[in-house]
Symmetry: C2
Subunit: 405 residues, 2 copies
């Protein structure tokens, strides 16, 4: 595997990309930045994955159409209004793309349009048209752009790596928003990844599909999936490597780097789930196969009873085994071992499906850390999967009981 190195710059880490973000007043009473723009100085090969929800926001539908040619050069994204199920959703999405295209002097069909926020209300594109002139694109504009797409996120989510392909140093990085409605098969999440690696849109699509399965699709915050989920990858080729067009070593290097970027962002999304106080990693080892391991890990990750117990730092492993039991996965509960692990140590709580005597004080200390791993070990085979989630807290309820207010 090619050597990967963590670098700065997020969605602007790759050569030729600039970004920016402003507050243009999409929701009048909101004071945060709400409009982001990402731009490549040359057209990019591009691909995306989108929500599987039958209710798709208009920008999602527009992007899917515009990506058919595998080419994009910019992303415009707003927060505050999701532009989903809105009376004039299609017009608003189209106009938003046109506004960016005019500002950038590129064809509208090369602009990807994304929205996140409240469903069912019309998006005011006039404020976007009147304010976009004040948005400055900068090489160091990644954080601004990230801030503009955040909703209930409490922390910006950015990462970037360098890697080698075709003897050239390539860079890949991204920004992401998550927080609520995060769930396997893409929860509400916007993720924009850029790279200067030269790679065909077909190969981007392939890598994206491989990688999303083991990264974002293994994150769950609340079991809801949204109308707007979008993950886009734009590759402008300015690194100068020979274009990757088949599954060779360069493809593997690109795919691995993309996976690392997506995994970093996926874990950040899980850790910053709405109201979350801790990141939950559910690690299943020794399941019959990968599919079985994923079913088990995913069920535990989504169990509200387990999530509430994790909030209370309560080593209630019975809920873990119980969630395994209703996961639909094939396994023998009598052969399952369970342990909790964190920076404070590891403690075995269940062996062969039965409770062990354990030190409750140590368990509480382990479960009180910011990042907790639930280890589930089976003797059945090589299925080894991590899923990521978070605890269920008072603040989740508070945030989501009042979201529209």
């Amino acid at each position: 595997m090619a050597v990967m190195k963590k670098i700065d710059g997020g969605v602007c880490a790759a050569t030729g990309f600039t970004a920016g973000g402003i507050r243009c007043g999409i929701r009048p009473n909101q004071t945060k930045k709400d409009l982001a723009l990402i731009f490549s100085e040359v057209p990019c090969q591009a691909a995306g994955v989108f929500t599987k929800n039958r209710v798709k926001a208009d920008p999602v539908q527009l992007d899917q159409e515009n990506l058919r040619d595998g080419i994009a050069q910019a992303v415009i994204a707003n927060s505050g209004i999701a532009n989903a199920c809105a009376p004039h959703g299609r017009q608003a999405a189209v106009r938003m793309g046109q506004i960016a295209a005019e500002r950038l002097g590129i064809p509208a069909e090369n602009v990807m349009v994304c929205s996140t926020g409240i469903i069912g209300q019309d998006l005011d594109t006039d404020v976007i048209a009147s304010q976009i002139g004040t948005l400055v694109l900068r090489r160091d504009g990644a954080l601004e752009a990230e801030e503009a797409i955040m909703t209930t996120d409490t922390r910006p989510k950015m990462t970037a790596y360098s890697f080698t392909a075709g003897g050239k140093t390539c860079r890949i990085g991204g920004i992401c928003k998550g927080a609520g409605m995060i769930h396997p098969n893409m929860g509400t999440m916007l993720c924009f990844i850029t790279t200067d690696c030269a790679v065909s849109s077909a190969m981007i699509r392939k890598a994206l599909q491989e990688d999303v399965r083991v990264t974002f699709n293994r994150v769950s915050v609340d079991g809801d999936t949204s109308t707007n989920d979008t993950c886009l990858v734009l590759a402008n080729g300015l690194a100068g490597n020979a274009v990757i067009t088949e599954e060779d070593a360069d493809y593997a290097a690109f795919r691995d780097a993309l996976r690392q970027v997506m995994q970093d962002l996926a874990v950040m999304v899980a850790a910053d789930g709405e109201g979350a106080t801790r990141l939950l990693t559910v690690h299943v080892q020794g399941a019959k196969d990968e599919e079985t391991a994923e079913k088990l890990a995913s069920a535990v990750c989504q169990s509200t009873l387990t999530k509430a117990a994790m909030f209370g730092a309560d080593a209630n492993w019975g809920r873990v085994l119980c969630a395994c039991g209703y996961s639909g996965a094939e396994f023998d509960p009598q052969k399952a071992d369970i342990a909790f692990r964190s920076a404070a140590g590891e403690i075995a709580v269940c062996a062969h499906g039965q409770g062990l005597a354990f030190d409750e004080d140590l368990a509480r200390k382990i479960l009180s850390q910011d990042a907790v791993v639930i280890e589930i070990r089976l003797p059945d085979g090589g299925g080894d999967v991590c899923c990521w989630g978070c605890d269920l807290t008072y603040d989740y309820v508070k945030i989501n009981g009042e979201y529209r207010s």
Copy 2:
């Protein structure tokens, strides 16, 4: 349909049944009643449905074995310890049945054994053996028995009806515990139903399977299913009707009465979900078929975002439509109408998949009632299904963050 009449008496409403409940100290620091006994003066035809969880508590496995002959005469049930995944679970379940059998002078294989509470700890049957002598069986003992099986339930759940079969007046009634881990396919729930109607165990089984599908399996509190779910029906035949052995009019009368009992209890379970402040009924009309309607209603009922919005009395219908969208059901979002309804009125919030202007104050008033109905109307066919659930509240998190403490 035979005339049904609501009557008193719960699980003792039917002739020949007595019940009682005591505190015997299954968990030393718990002061509530924790042991229930239900008894029929003659052996009963009986059937049950049990958790689908792969992890089954020992009493569940024991009952399944003992019910193979379709005969039972008593139920012993404890709360506090689930006797699931416990080192000596089988022995404890067997001994609990023997203790009841000795006390009642009947064969142990005719005693149904049920437990609910914490998973993974051994059940102390010595306290049961030493205290069962103090348990008095009474014709008016239903409430005592109910109190003894409640865990985080805040209200007792009992109902009973009289109906006519074969020209005789029959009675059927039950008690139930629910609260957390309630989910389609039987959440943690114990439900005991008794009747003096004469009906074969095969016909009970048939009616139970028909009825559970449209009652308990349509209740969701938190998406978790438990290791201990059990719903038992005992019929002692003392009403003197000709034994029901085929699907005739008497069978229909029995099945309908059983369904009414189960629906009453199911709705009580939903309304008393852990931490719940209101009962949520999701009613889908006009779906393509029943299966589609059920998928839609069930997804909305389980959406934590919708549940949190209901807690906040927030008319965030976008989350309702969004949950429909990821339900896996076939429908056209562009044809969906959504309204909220309660004792305070009804308000339309979405027509043809798009937001309507509506009076937010009225919406808040409607959603602030104890019982709220989410109406989803489609133009596709005759699929008409209700699912029941509750809101997601701070108290759910509190209760489940501290359950073992």
